[in-house]
Amino acid sequence: MRSRRLAAAVVVASALTAPSPRARAADPAPLREVGFGVKNGRLVVSVGLQDLFGPAERARLKSGFATRILVRAALEEASSGDPVALAVQRAEIVYDIWDEKFAIRISDGLGAERRTVAATAEEAIGRAAVLLDASVIEAVRLHPGTDYVLAVRGDLNPISEDLLVEVRRWLVQPARGQRRLGAGDSFFGSFVSIFVNPRIEDSERQVRFVSQPFLWGQVPPPPPPPKPQPTRTHR
């Protein structure tokens, strides 16, 4: 229970201290405190991304259609930036306009799925936009004495690759009145009349951050399941 409270504290604190979610890929990723631990021989992480939802997004949770949250967390070697492992969590929130409850479906990178119900929007966000003991990698695969960071990206209503392609095709349809590239025009034309709507990005809202760096234990890593051992850590 204590660990649950600690996890919750990290999740809430990290969300409260988070910068604006408008930061995009090109901006330096800000720092956000992430809880690391070992569970059943695997590195697990906990962090909140509730700031993916602004007031407008919270209000739209009651649209009656699914709101999707995609969280990707890459464990990287701090020195090289090389990704070591990737954790994914997909969550959907649907408000039932008759029962007036929020249904939540969450699945992870391995396809495991769980469903739950929330009475309020805050509760629904708290369950869907949070990584709580999310499994990242077997602890034995981490190298003692190596610095790691966790790079996290959360997307609200991410647009799929297929739909993005379709959208881009709509943009180039001459019938939709947005293009004037004629047969004789230069493809290197100085100024092409394609108007790209600013909302057509790869998601409606995005949060990016990196964790504080951590040095994996100088001591032997914990043995794998089924007999997980308490893990000593360094400060």
Binding site: R2, S3, A7, V10, A25, A26, D27, A29, L31, V34, G35, G37, V38, K39, R60, S63, G64, F65, R68, E76, A78, G81, P83, L86, R90, V94, W98, R105, D133, P158, E161, L163, V167, R168, W170, P174, A175, R176, G177, Q178, A183, S186, F187, S190, V192, S193, I194, F195, V196, N197, I200, E201, R208, Q212, P213, F214, L215, P228, P230, R235
Partner: protein, 494 residues
């Protein structure tokens, strides 16, 4: 103890180590840290479960809000294409809902669009509410500021209102005006365009109609003396040509990204030729008569044309894969009232291949004219060579010949020809994405060959030139800008 209890063993940031720990709380660990998150993720990992989730609805009514300008029928029609109309069933997690949102956004009329449902007459029945936030729809299509040795300055713009009267009507206007060129006998140029395009009749997949009106009053330049590579405006003579007319075009989108058009063009032309109509050769001896490629006095151009456009590019602005090919055939004949009889065939193709750090593009252009076309319908060297100024609204303001980078090339002599081809290879590397009003930027380098010939006799040995460019292509809020070496060399902007 925690593990024994079966609870997760959570270690809150206590793995932070040593000296690094002291610096960590206030600053990111590394400026580049976290950059790998995009590379590490794959589309498969981002894919949500396909199984429906949430309630199942039957749409009783589609209600549109926030559209002060855009017609409701236009929005409802876009949804109907996806099957979101009264009587239809839809799941709470139905992909068509998101698709509808982006389909409406891609019209360019709205800043934002959101779909929701409210209770209908009974449980399971809903009213589909489409809330739109309209945006300004005035778009800059082209800017023309430039200068050349022959014309001190020409400038203008081509702008469009994409949602005129809220009916999805595309109303565009363009103008270009110049100072008086220093070529003997030349007049200041003026070009005007008015374009109206209506949404496809019968819904988004119907037939779209557009009309373009044009008025040009300008001069074209012809070499009267000097070497082919000499750009001195004093060695040219000028005609004065007025053109007035228009083009009516019908277009339809077909499945598989195929778009077809048919158009009809009618123009009235009035040409005043200079008194000097014979060329003087570089050695001072009289040369052949100058071919002005236009009938003196009044004439007409009447043509009918068909075109096919096939587009599978991954992105219209900064493509990474796919292709775009366009083929058009235009016929000028007395049956359309034309004083000029010709058949003009143009093929344009671009093919893209994804590379480890960017994309490779191959751009092929080929055109042929059979018969006698007026000069403005022929292939102009400035439209082929990236290093020369292009025509603005169909008017040329430069006497600059194409540079002859190849030995024994006669490309400098070519200006308007009946046959032209170009092959360009371009390598583009993304520099950044998502940065304020500049959505993306690609650095690119392009190189290629172009060839021109005026008749079938010279078609077997055409004049060949080298061209290329190096710069940045910026995808911005208001359009696509190119900042490149060619901009500088051709003395034209963007």
């Amino acid at each position: 103890m925690l593990a024994r209890a079966g609870a997760p063993l959570l270690v809150v940031a206590i793995l932070t180590a040593g000296a690094r720990a002291a610096a960590a709380p206030d600053s990111p660990p590394d400026p580049g840290a976290g950059a790998g998150i995009d590379a590490a993720a794959t589309p498969a990992e981002a894919a949500f479960p396909e199984a429906p989730f949430g309630p199942h609805y039957v749409i009783e009514e589609v209600r549109v809000t926030g559209n002060r300008k855009t017609q409701t029928s236009l929005i409802v029609g876009e949804l109907a294409v996806l099957g979101l109309s009264p009587g239809a069933s839809v799941d709470a997690s139905d992909a068509r809902v998101e698709m509808a949102r982006y389909r409406l956004l891609s019209l360019g009329y709205f800043l934002d669009v959101h779909l929701s449902v409210i209770r209908g007459s009974k449980r399971g029945a809903v009213v589909l509410v489409v809330a739109v936030e309209e945006r300004g729809t005035l778009v800059i299509n082209e800017l023309f500021p430039a200068t050349s040795e022959a014309t001190l300055f020409w400038g203008g713009a081509d702008v469009s209102e994409m949602n005129f009267l809220g009916r999805g009507i595309n109303l565009g206007a363009g103008f270009v005006a110049s100072t008086k060129p220093v070529v003997p006998g030349a007049h200041a140029g003026l070009g005007l365009r008015l374009h109206v395009g209506v949404p496809p009749l019968g819904g988004p997949d119907g037939v779209g109609l557009s009309v373009t009106g044009l008025y040009n009053d300008g001069s074209e330049f012809y070499r009267a003396s000097g070497d082919d590579s000499d750009p001195d405006p004093g060695r040219f003579v000028a005609t004065r040509v007025k053109r007035a007319g228009g083009v009516l075009t019908a277009g339809k989108m077909f499945p598989h990204n195929l778009h077809a058009t048919a158009s009809f063009r009618e123009e009235w032309v009035d040409a005043t030729l200079p008194s000097l109509q014979t060329q003087t050769l570089p050695n001072g001896s009289p040369g052949p008569p100058i071919d002005f490629m236009i009938n003196p006095g009044s004439s007409r151009v009447g043509t009918g044309a068909v075109g096919l456009d096939y587009d599978t590019r991954s992105d219209p602005v900064l493509p990474r894969s796919g292709m775009r090919t366009a083929l058009s055939v235009e016929v000028g004949t007395a049956a359309f009232g034309s004083s000029y009889g010709f058949v003009k065939t143009v093929f344009n193709g671009s093919f893209y291949a994804r590379m480890p750090r960017g994309a490779l593009g191959f751009h092929l252009f080929a055109g042929a004219i059979d018969g006698v076309a007026p000069y403005f319908d022929r292939f102009f060297v400035g439209d082929l060579d990236l290093l020369l100024p292009r025509r603005a609204l169909g008017i040329n303001f430069s006497t600059q010949p194409a540079p002859s980078f190849l030995l024994h090339s006669s490309i400098a002599a070519e200006r308007y020809d009946n046959y032209a081809g170009r092959l360009l290879v371009e390598y583009a590397v993304p520099v950044w994405r998502h940065k304020g009003l500049v959505y993306g930027g690609d650095a690119f380098v392009a190189a290629g060959l172009f060839a021109m010939a005026n008749d079938e006799d010279t078609l077997s040995s055409p004049s060949v030139g080298l061209t290329g460019d190096l710069g940045l292509r910026l995808d911005t809020y208001v359009g696509v800008f190119t900042v490149s070496i060619a901009n500088v060399l051709s003395r034209s902007s963007f």
